[in-house]
């Protein structure tokens, strides 16, 4: 599904990703962990095509297509979803309106007919309940006045509605209490159907107790320095990231 080869990318003058490789098959959940500044968020932005994140070299193939050649919205329409670490507010635009436009833009991209308001409303209500947000959140402005936890749940609601092929969760656990964390994890797990793939970017092992990954990668200084199964996350939990430095020196 996703094949990243020797990816180098920079922000302004600083190279952040320095030869990253990753192979993701349909249905797999890959956790990406690493210390602050390792390039975790950069990976999500580069894959989704954000301006200012410049690819220096390397290739990224998404379902056989050259991802790096596509516009931001084309990547989204092709099925790539990014759950933001800090979701931004759009005052005056209701969540409902925003998500309906979004769902229909995706459908249009896939050559499908747009959903009617009634069809959409039914789906939106179901998704809203799934992430345990009151229904009036559909009427409120996008992220307008939401708490940190509500914003994160709102992102998962969008994930549920948009049914992407690959979802990148950028620190969807940061700033959440245990209850909210469980809601987010439950929402994500409900979307694991054996075909949809996930990249779960996180600093802490905690989230992975609830979303069990197939693979765990440790990202440090712009590269994957170690890959393994879920046990690797536990190792990080007990020993932190300090050993990485030793590893580099060795």
């Amino acid at each position: 599904m996703l094949s990243i080869k020797k990816l180098h990318a920079r922000v302004e003058e600083t190279t952040i990703l320095k030869g990253l490789d990753m192979e993701i098959k349909p249905g797999e959940v890959h956790a990406v962990m690493g210390p602050n500044g390792a390039g975790k968020s950069t990976l999500g932005y580069v894959l989704s095509g954000r301006d200012g994140y410049e690819v220096e070299s390397g290739t990224v193939e998404f379902e056989g297509k050259d991802l790096l050649d596509m516009e931001v919205e084309e990547r989204a329409q092709a099925g790539l979803f990014l759950a933001f670490q800090y979701p931004v507010e759009i005052p005056g635009v209701s969540n409902m309106e925003f998500m309906k436009e979004s769902v229909n833009a995706m459908r249009e991209g896939r050559g499908e007919t747009p959903l009617s308001s009634a069809e959409f409303l039914k789906k939106a209500k179901a998704a809203c309940k799934q992430v345990e947000l009151p229904l009036d959140f559909l009427k409120r402005g996008v992220n307008e006045g939401f708490s940190g936890g509500e914003k994160k749940r709102n992102e998962i609601m969008q994930l549920i509605l948009l049914e992407p092929k690959l979802a990148i969760l950028d620190e969807s656990d940061s700033g959440l209490d245990v209850d909210a964390l469980q809601v987010v994890a439950k929402g994500v797990n409900s979307q694991r159907d054996g075909k949809r793939s996930f990249i779960v970017v996180t600093h802490y092992q905690r989230l992975l107790d609830y979303i069990e990954p197939d693979y765990v990668h440790i990202l440090s200084n712009g590269k994957i320095v170690k890959s393994g199964g879920p046990e690797l996350a536990k190792e990080v939990e007990s020993s932190g990231y300090a050993w990485l430095k030793e590893g580099e020196n060795a």
């Binding site: 989704s48 954000r50 301006d51 200012g52 516009e71 931001v72 919205e73 989204a76 329409q77 979803f81 990014l82 933001f84 979701p87 931004v88 507010e89 759009i90 005052p91 005056g92 635009v93 309106e97 925003f98 998500m99 436009e101 979004s102 833009a105 995706m106 991209g109 402005g141 969008q158 948009l162």
Partner: protein, 478 residues
């Protein structure tokens, strides 16, 4: 990201076509003879001719105002033609069947069919083409309710006493430079009269179209709402795409007697000029309403066109407990300049006013809000609330706010809130990541910003206004 905004704001002006219509047009120039001829063309009563001449003489002694935050070359008033009308209108067609089909096609192309059966149900239209009114629809239906809705030129003949009683009472003929010019040379416009206690059974609207080259459009609208009556009125404006600037200096007077309510909405889409500021309409307009006891006047405007806009729809809250409202969206892009806002003059006790102004600037445009709130000595317990928000798209445009607050009554309360924000890269990226193209994203963000004003528009037009904004923003992502 800002390049994309610029692209998305690239201009597209749908109403820029020219209609091939044979017109009778005065040679350019202005003097007392021109005014007499114009008045004679319309077969006006003598007092009207005299009124015009008085206005002209006042105008000659006045100076063009320079205080607005706009910059344009000096206008040569002798190079403008002050009257132009389609030749076919000379015989005064009695019904739609007699109207030149090319004229009807013009309005159809603009999305305003004038055949009653094809129109939006519940909206009566007065169509003004250059200097004359082409047709007014649904007149019989309105007459049944006692409502008068006709071209002002016709009202001068049919209802001279009403016109004479109210014309110039809210905007005196020497009020300001452009109002004085209008008083001297106004050609057509709408006259509305709602009798006592009547709720006008349908929306009234006037559609102004400038077609002829080198002509000015000077329309005059007068709306009188008798005691306890109610009316909602909307005006729309477009003009062909031309390289020369054209002058539009209108006057609108509203009179709301005791307990009456007037809702006046404008969707202004005059040709704004090209990307480099060539061509476009100079929109210098005086709009003012007078509120008697418990009366209410509400101005709602969506301003997306014109090269230069100078416009301050105002309310004189003379009667106790009267209410004035001003809801405005002004969008400028390219090299457009807008200096717009309102004046709320509180004279009566417990008068209330609300001002919600949303300015959106893109490209290299300049957008200024200028508003006066005056609490007179008698404005016991009066209240004003002003909210003034600016949204910037890109980094080469300007937003300016000039609030003036004068209070001569210690019990009056004035509140002013202002914000300035930008369409951020984060917002744009979020929208695009959710599959929306940059144009759709910007127009959605801008629509959200304007929501408070759009919901004040009559329903039929709220959708139109949203679409207009979308078209105007096309190409402005950058």
């Amino acid at each position: 990201m800002s390049e994309q905004i610029d692209q998305a704001l690239e201009r597209k002006y749908d109403a820029g076509f020219v209609s091939e219509i044979e017109s009778e047009t005065f040679a350019p120039g202005l003097n007392e003879d021109v005014i007499r001829r114009l008045s004679a063309m319309k077969d006006e009563p003598e007092w009207m001719t005299e009124w015009r001449l008085q206005a002209y003489r006042k105008w000659l002694k006045m100076e063009e105002p320079e205080w607005a935050h706009v910059d344009y070359p000096k206008i040569d008033y002798q190079s403008i033609s002050y009257y132009s009308a389609p030749k076919s209108m000379k015989d005064k067609p009695k019904s739609l069947d007699e109207v030149d089909p090319e004229l009807l096609r013009t309005y159809e192309k603009l999305g305003i069919p004038l055949h009653e059966q094809e129109m939006l149900a519940g909206v009566a239209v007065d169509a003004v083409f250059d200097s004359v009114s082409v047709v007014t629809t649904f007149r019989e239906k309105l007459e049944e309710a006692g409502v008068i809705f006709c071209p002002i030129s016709e009202a001068l003949h049919k209802y001279p006493d009403l016109v004479k009683k109210y014309l110039g009472t809210v905007v005196p003929k020497g009020d300001n430079y452009f109002a004085a010019l209008n008083s001297a040379v106004f050609t057509d416009g709408s006259f509305v009269y709602i009798p006592k206690g009547v709720r006008c059974p349908m929306e009234l609207s006037t559609y102004f179209r400038i077609n002829e080259q080198n002509t000015g459009q000077f329309e005059r609208t007068l709306i009188v709402a008798e005691e306890g009556s109610h009316v909602s009125y909307l005006e729309g404006c477009t003009a062909p795409q031309r390289d020369e600037n054209q002058l539009h200096a209108a006057v609108v007077e509203l009179v709301a007697l005791d307990d009456a309510e007037i809702k006046y909405s404008t969707v202004q889409n005059w040709y704004p000029g090209d990307e480099n500021g060539k061509g476009g309409i100079y929109n210098f307009v005086t709009k003012r309403g007078l509120c008697e006891k418990n009366a209410k006047i509400s101005w709602t405007q969506v301003e997306t066109g014109s090269a230069v806009t100078w416009k301050y729809p105002s309310c004189i809250l003379k009667g106790d407990n009267s209410v004035g409202e001003f809801y405005s969206v002004a969008l400028t892009r390219g090299k457009q300049q807008a200096d717009t806002g309102t004046k709320m003059i509180h004279l009566g006790k417990n008068t209330k006013s609300t001002i919600i102004s949303k300015g959106i600037s893109a490209g290299r445009s300049n957008n200024a809000y200028r508003g006066l709130v005056r609490m007179g000595p008698g404005a016991e317990g009066a209240r004003n609330f002003t909210e003034c928000d600016s949204l910037l798209i890109g980094d080469q445009c300007g937003a300016h706010t000039f609030p003036y607050i004068e209070s001569s009554n210690p019990t009056a309360i004035v509140e002013h809130e202002a914000t300035t924000s930008k369409v951020s890269d984060d917002q744009l990226f979020l929208c695009r990541q959710r599959g929306l193209d940059p144009e759709k994203a910007v127009s959605m963000i801008v629509n959200g910003f304007c929501k408070e004003v759009f919901r004040e528009l009559p329903m039929e037009f709220a959708v139109e206004a949203g679409k207009l904004l979308e078209i105007s923003l096309e190409g402005s992502v950058g």
